[in-house]
Symmetry: C3
Subunit: 147 residues, 3 copies
Amino acid sequence: MTTESEVSRVVDARTYAEVLQFYSRHFQLLDEGQAEQWARQFTEDGEFGQNVKPEPRRGRAAIAASMRRGIDRLAGTGVTRRHWFGNVIAEPDGDGAVRTRYYATVFETPAGGGPARVYLSTTAEDRLERQNGEWLVRRRHIVHDGT
Amino acid sequence: MTTESEVSRVVDARTYAEVLQFYSRHFQLLDEGQAEQWARQFTEDGEFGQNVKPEPRRGRAAIAASMRRGIDRLAGTGVTRRHWFGNVIAEPDGDGAVRTRYYATVFETPAGGGPARVYLSTTAEDRLERQNGEWLVRRRHIVHDGT
Amino acid sequence: MTTESEVSRVVDARTYAEVLQFYSRHFQLLDEGQAEQWARQFTEDGEFGQNVKPEPRRGRAAIAASMRRGIDRLAGTGVTRRHWFGNVIAEPDGDGAVRTRYYATVFETPAGGGPARVYLSTTAEDRLERQNGEWLVRRRHIVHDGT
């Protein structure tokens, strides 16, 4: 339940612009198949969980390896995926960290081009932390709509 | 007709970040089925109109009640809806208010998950006003594409 | 290949807000069929290229004329198109210019309304320059997914 006081807890404009730019780069790296660069945007001890998987991936190396397998499988199909993020709520989460809740929707275009389909609609919740001037994901949890 | 001088009338970065965060929270509340919390983001005398309805809803209570009925109907179907907002133009509208024009598109995922469909594409125009440090919708008008 | 130092090169919050507002207006003008107003957001010597066309359009007048033809053809079908932009990366590009890379996805609603389809998913890369206090597109290149 969101209370009225919670409604006011928003990050400042500078942080919000940084967060949007962080996600823009993050999801573009993913869609370019740069699993390792993408995983570098998690902390070394980062966690990546999904409600449709029994356990979260723990640690940047495991997160990278898992995503690399997914990307390589997809490459064999010729399909292009685009992960859009949107509706980003960002709140202070202690120690300079930020907690976000946002929508992430994946569009798929078949080899050869033409109309796309909406492959998946999800919501996501992250804890972002700053390290050496960069935002990194400490913890992410994805929930697939309808599941 | 947009003139060249109108092109320059944009709100500052701080207001723009506030507006984006306002809508993020607003549409997430809606999709979580929090009709009453969502309606609290209208002014007490707020108006909500759609081109496909004969009359706008007038007043926060009527807006909440109407949305509550819609959400309860939807809950019976097991479908998950996600209201994405985007392409947000925000201009000063006098007395510290902001006039926005944006796109709002609704994705639907069936019970059980899987690919989504684009249930509806709309454009929206709001007048936002500040009260006690919070942005609130004074007036909203939605136009459904193709109608 | 994106290096770690490149990850840090982001524009400031004010520029980012301006860029988002620029694109919001730009794509709304397009979808309203305002080809000439839309083309005024290119520099006089602007270029507009797509990977599915042999040559870029060169110059604001040629860009406007080409888009006018496209819009007039579309008007005959009764279809409403909405160009969404998202996932906007913006980096300083020398001389006060900004280089952006973003996603642009087009939704289509048939005459009469109802569910939309995802007509096209693309990525875009622009060089934006300031002239007389306005952002303008100096060069745009669009790549259609799957082609």
